[in-house]
């Protein structure tokens, strides 16, 4: 792998302080970076966690009751599960938006901003509803 393009010196202003304090992302940018962050979180650790829960809950009745009544009752587990559920919901909604963008639907600025807000709000609302039902 010769990454020739990586060796070019280009004007890049992506130091961490710049990323955190100087670059102001527009809403579609937030949807995009949150899609990436939620995707990374889903890959690790959340898939592993989901498999652990599936494994334990399907292993035996005791395992199922443990997950339902004890494990999911721990505050830290509840918090983690909420982040998990939100990641899934946001990734899901943002992904559907990107599919529409691929089809050239909603690419004008006004629509793109509106759908970005819809995705962010829908992700949070879905996570709230599912979280309150499941946890």
């Amino acid at each position: 792998m010769a990454s020739a393009s990586a060796k070019k010196i280009r004007p890049k202003y992506l130091s961490l302080p710049a990323l955190l304090f100087e670059i102001r992302l527009p809403v579609p940018g937030w949807v995009s970076i949150l899609h990436r962050i939620s995707g990374a979180l889903l890959f690790f650790p959340f898939v592993a966690w989901a498999l652990y829960l599936l494994d334990t809950s399907l292993r035996s009745e005791q395992g199922f009751q443990y997950v339902r009544a004890e494990y999911l009752d721990l505050p830290l587990v509840k918090l983690g599960m909420l982040v998990f559920i939100w990641s899934y919901c946001h990734h899901f909604c943002a992904g559907i938006r990107f599919l529409f963008l691929d089809l050239d639907k909603g690419v004008d600025l006004r629509t793109a901003r509106i759908t970005s807000w819809v995705v962010i709000v829908a992700g949070l609302v879905l996570a709230g509803v599912l979280g309150s039902k499941l946890l």
Partner: protein
């Protein structure tokens, strides 16, 4: 013409695979969410019987396979964007593949026990 090799195919295949696998997982998610919410609060009997059915096992395996491919494209995109040293990049890509393989093995183990 000089070709740059920087780790991806730059082809339609991965782009398309990421979208097709996304659609498969979306459909599965909606179906499973509907089943779980309909049977809420979930009991062990319902849960066990759901995963005892052949179609559910196959659908879940299909989901896992879709996830594996989807994750590979997505995580590799992230690695290619942020990790520039070739050695580190290759290492992370191999780790990613190993984790994906482990997930798949674990899934099969859970489904056909």
């Amino acid at each position: 013409m000089k070709r740059l090799v920087v780790g991806a195919h730059y082809g339609l295949r991965d782009w398309l695979a990421q979208r097709v696998t996304a659609a498969i997982m979306a459909v599965y998610s909606v179906i499973v969410a509907a089943i779980v919410l309909k049977n809420s609060p979930l009991t062990y009997a319902v849960w066990r019987d759901l995963f005892a059915q052949g179609w559910m096992r196959v659908a879940t395996l299909l989901f896992a396979a879709s996830l594996a491919w989807h994750v590979w494209v997505g995580v590799r995109d992230i690695i290619m964007d942020y990790v520039k040293p070739d050695g580190l990049r290759l290492t992370l890509e191999i780790v990613t593949l190993l984790v994906i393989a482990a997930y798949l093995g674990w899934t099969v183990q859970i489904l056909w026990r």
